[in-house]
């Protein structure tokens, strides 16, 4: 069944997109991450204009984070005070990101920037995952990190506005989580990703939080950031396609449920190998599209 998407201005087969969302939701259910950064490129491959894909994806992100947040809140894994500080940073980051997005759109460069950002990000993540998996298969154990002060700890000691975050049992400058949030906000606005893959390691290593608190607090942050970004995208760029969003949300939510159930049966190493290879394949495809001579070098944009 084909539906005409009013904002994307293309006609799509509903089943294909439902299926994509199901698959990606499933993946995120099994691994706990993934979703945004796989779904957005898939949307772009399927003919959705990148600007609409990013904006609509941030809407979908709200739905996929909701289940996780509710669960974590109930178990008390969310450091609300820290989360709010991060939100202050990410709101600013979203605003800056959206302005950048609009500027690039006006200049006609937004598609390329989104593609390049994804290629870099996906190749880095995919490679890191692959290396991780190879190490695990070869049973190589990384030596423990030395006790010297890393750059971020030295930075942390210099920064002002130190606050006590009792839930996470850390005493750090508020500027650090705010800064991390800022980066996350920008990524959500420009690329339509949740930013979990940056937030989680940053919170564990730079803020020295326990992984459990990180899981809940990062989800808390992502959900509010993506909601805020969605609204901003709708107001500033008018590129959120509600019809597409609903299709993706429904597929993604169902897929995630199946994924979570299926997680028990999946061998960790095999699954991570498959995922890292898939991520690298997507990165390669995006890069190829950038480099190959396009069929049509001219394009029309109607103004006003």
């Amino acid at each position: 069944m084909h539906i005409y998407l009013p904002i994307a201005e293309v006609s799509i087969p509903v089943e294909l997109f439902l299926g994509m969302a199901l698959m990606v939701g499933f993946i995120s259910g099994v691994f706990g991450v993934g979703g945004g950064f796989i779904l957005t490129p898939l949307l772009i491959f399927s003919g959705i204009p990148p600007a609409v894909a990013v904006a609509t994806q941030s809407n979908q992100l709200v739905a996929s984070s909701i289940t996780g947040v509710l669960g974590h809140l109930r178990q008390g894994n969310v450091d609300i005070k820290l989360g709010l500080v991060m939100l202050a940073g990410s709101s600013l980051g979203s605003i800056v990101g959206i302005c950048l997005f609009s500027l690039l759109k006006y200049l006609g460069q937004i598609d390329v920037v989104i593609a390049v950002s994804y290629v870099s990000m996906l190749s880095i993540i995919g490679s890191l995952m692959l290396i991780d998996v190879i190490n695990a298969r070869l049973k190589i154990v990384k030596p423990k990190e030395g006790r010297e002060r890393s750059w971020y700890r030295r930075l942390n000691e210099r920064l002002p506005y130190k606050m006590r975050f009792n839930r996470s049992r850390i005493y750090i400058s508020a500027l650090m989580p705010a800064g991390i949030g800022f980066v996350g906000g920008m990524l959500t606005a420009v690329m339509g990703v949740g930013g979990g893959f940056i937030l989680v390691p940053a919170m564990i290593y730079m803020l020295r939080m326990s992984p459990l608190m990180v899981a809940g607090t990062s989800l808390f942050q992502i959900i509010f950031t993506s909601a805020f970004t969605t609204i901003l995208h709708a107001i500033v760029n008018k590129s959120v396609d509600m019809l597409l969003a609903v299709i993706l949300v429904v597929g993604g939510a169902m897929g995630a449920q199946f994924g979570v159930r299926f997680a028990k049966y999946v061998s960790g190493i095999q699954a991570r190998t498959a995922l890292s290879l898939m991520i690298l394949a997507v990165a390669l495809r995006l890069a190829a599209d950038l480099v190959v001579e396009p069929e049509q070098i001219y394009s029309i944009v109607v103004r006003g």
Partner: protein
Amino acid sequence: MIRYLFSIVVFSIFLLAGSVQAQERPPVFMLNLADDHVAITTGFNGTQVKVFGTKMSKEINPVIVLEGPRRDVVMRRKKRILGIWLNLEAMTFKETPALYKIAAKAGVLDKLGEEVRFKEELGAAYLRLTPKKKKLRDDYVRFRRALLSLKNEKGLYSTEIGEIKNISDVFYKTSFTLPANLPRGEYTVRGYAVVDDVIIDQQTLTFRVHQDGIAADILEYAEEKPALYGIIGVLIAIIVGWGATQVLRRD
């Protein structure tokens, strides 16, 4: 010269005849549309615009032009830099019609001559397409050609001249095919009455192309109340996301 005088004479006779028995004679030239609007519904796949009318005699040849709303259009050209294809060059064309189609009997337009065709913009290739800023002639020619070609590919401009059927000496009709990716807005239909190589009369009609159904409501909200639209989107996401967990938990 003689031909020109002949057409003037013919025209004057028509005019006299028309004024003497104004109530009983049909006007020199009349234009009509079968529908005054086109509604794009969710399953829209293109449609036809039917134009018909009357003309005083068989010497009069109608030329009908269908134009979509005029907007500024930016043409971009990709170039390869450091291995990547980027949009590097651009040219803005002012007041470009979103859609352009023309219908006339064979040979009528050629007889009118280039000057008239450019002045009245009769034919996609005869559109003025003024650039917003001054550009080099070579660049202008390249971008202009690309614009006409792209519009042609999308089915929005037609290089072909449509057919005009004479139902009788005084009735004529024609129809234009509108593609599925029809731009919304106000469209104009310009009808010209041509005798030999002179335009003796002209009439313009308008009709609206608008979206209907759910897609239209969504679009309207997105454009006019974007904050509300965004908030609703977020709420829907929350409800469906939460709902899905509840539904599947029952398993």
